[in-house]
């Protein structure tokens, strides 16, 4: 590499890294997942969810009952989602927490092949953003192909 190319390469790398870092920090103000935004302890928000399996015949069965050899707390062990029925802090912010919950519903729907009766999973979430009044939201997994 010529000295000139080396100089330009250094400049590009440093300016590029600084620009990307600043972009990540800015992105943290609107994105659910705030990678490289460095916003620790963002909220005192709390949440809880009643999650049910909706079966092909329309029954709504809470996921705190084991099904087809599965247990929610063994399938979803991370990100504070293990016991969704208990009111928890949203450690990395409410949006982030609920984005993970939404993804977890999809993951469970896709990775419970022995379950032949569930059409989809549904979470009714009650969320308290800091000291705001509670808000209700509903999340659904994708429809399961094997359901029924």
């Amino acid at each position: 590499m010529t000295p000139r190319a080396r100089t330009v390469a250094r400049r590009v790398v440093v300016v590029g890294v600084v620009a990307v870092q600043l972009a990540f920090i800015a992105r943290g103000y609107w994105a659910d997942h705030k990678q490289f935004a460095f916003q620790p302890f963002p909220e005192a928000s709390t949440w809880r969810a009643e999650i049910v399996r909706v079966t092909t015949d329309g029954r709504r069965i809470p996921i705190d009952r084991p099904w087809a050899g599965y247990r929610w707390e063994e399938l979803v062990t991370d990100r504070g989602l293990r016991y969704p029925g208990i009111r928890h802090h949203a450690d990395t912010g409410l949006d982030n927490q609920l984005a993970f919950l939404d993804s977890a519903l999809d993951w469970v729907a896709e990775n419970t092949q022995r379950d032949r009766e569930t059409r989809y999973l549904e979470a009714r979430v009650t969320a308290w953003h800091n000291d705001d009044p509670p808000r209700e939201r509903t999340f659904r997994s994708a429809e399961r192909e094997g359901g029924g």
Binding site: R10, V14, V17, Y29, F38, P42, D78, S103, W107
Partner: protein, 383 residues
């Protein structure tokens, strides 16, 4: 003109000593970071056994046995990085494996892990294995000349930017959030954890204060301005020592009150990069005939991991003397305080001593032109 000055700054040769020491310390931090992944793996559990979420469908996911093998390889690489054995390859491997593992799933992401990836990336880019390493020792044993321990400073400046960005981003996000700045967030978190708080050996008045909303209305602002002070104060020589000192307390209090994985140890270790990137540009003079001074010289030699001092003999009967980088000459207790304030392990304890009136007046009196001789050597690549 501006671009030329910028290029000169990036290319300026500076000592890589601080990055070399950070590399040594980063190894154990990586091992701590890997511990939960390895512990699960040894229990037969990997990330694929429960909910995870890939960032992209094309991101390669290895079979379980290969994944566990990669974790073990990361342990070996981190150990080699820390020891400085095949340093460049070991550091690059550690960075690649840690980053690969974190980016396997959105659920693996934590701010402390992002910071660790950034630090490892910089260490992989910087030639920081030329000292404090087995590579350097092996080179010496083979009779080959030591490699130049200085290199273009841009990786160091980049890591300084990232370090300040971590504090700045955190402080700014809290500053612009009325719930945070007003104290609600910290008050609610503490009030909800009151049962845990009461299990601590704290007097009732302390628990009452900590769960009082008015206290948090003030404390939250203190936290925000502390973070912003660290982010900005690190950049100026006049405030840098104070910023580092405050940052250490800040991290220790976070560590005591929250679960932040490797963040505290990593962030404290990274503070080393704010030392002036030049070495052996201070002189510690000791009287070899004095057992006390010999012991002090030996202690400084053993703890001077950032290579701040050259230790030279003083005239018989002379007190301990330090020639600072700017030519200031100190003798006796002020010299001891200054020396201890420049060693990584003792700096936090000794820095407040520099504010004592007799030390301040000794430093004023010892400045060049006021009675002390001019420095023998100037600053090297100083910033």
């Amino acid at each position: 003109m501006m671009v030329a000055r910028f290029d000169e700054l990036l290319a300026r040769p500076v000592s890589m000593r601080a990055l070399a020491l950070l590399r040594v310390l980063a190894g154990p931090v990586v091992l701590l970071h890997l511990e939960p992944f390895l512990s699960d793996a040894l229990d037969g559990e990997t990330y694929r056994d429960s909910f995870y979420e890939p960032y992209a469908s094309w991101y390669p996911e290895p079979p379980e046995a290969v994944y566990i093998g990669l974790l073990c390889l990361a342990v070996i690489a981190a150990t080699a990085m820390s020891l400085g054995l095949l340093t460049r390859a070991a550091t690059a491997t550690t960075f690649a494996l840690v980053a690969y593992n974190v980016f396997l799933s959105t659920t693996h992401y934590q701010s402390n892990r992002a910071y660790l990836i950034i630090v490892l990336a910089v260490l992989a880019l910087a030639p920081c294995g030329r000292e404090l390493s087995l590579d350097a020792w092996i080179r010496r044993r083979r009779g080959r000349p030591a490699l130049d321990p200085s290199a273009p400073g841009w990786p160091l400046w980049l890591l300084r930017f990232e370090c300040a960005a971590v504090y700045g981003a955190s402080g700014l996000s809290k500053l612009v959030d009325p719930d945070w700045f007003g104290g609600f967030v910290t008050w609610k978190r503490v009030a909800d954890a009151r049962d845990d708080l009461e299990a601590w050996p704290l007097p009732d008045w302390a628990i009452s204060a900590l769960t009082d909303a008015d206290f948090h209305a003030v404390a939250a602002k203190f936290v925000v301005f502390t973070e912003l002070f660290i982010a900005l104060g690190l950049w100026w020589r006049g405030s840098r020592y104070a910023a580092v000192w405050v940052a250490v307390i800040f991290h220790l209090s976070i560590e005591a009150s929250a679960s932040v994985q490797v963040f505290s140890v990593l962030a404290i270790a990274v503070l080393l990069i704010w030392t002036v990137p030049s070495t052996r540009d201070r002189v510690l003079r000791i009287d070899p005939a004095s057992a006390r001074q010999r012991r002090f010289g030996a202690a400084v030699g053993a703890l001077d991991w950032l290579a701040r001092f050259r230790v030279e003999p003083a005239a018989p009967g002379a007190p301990i003397e330090v020639d600072d980088r700017d030519g200031t000459v100190l003798r006796g207790a002020p010299a001891v305080a200054l020396a201890l304030s420049r060693l990584p392990l003792t700096a936090w304890f000794a820095l407040p001593a520099l504010l004592l009136p007799f030390v301040r007046s000794a430093r004023r009196a010892g400045r060049p032109g006021i009675g002390a001789p001019a420095p023998a050597s100037g600053r090297v690549g100083g910033r």
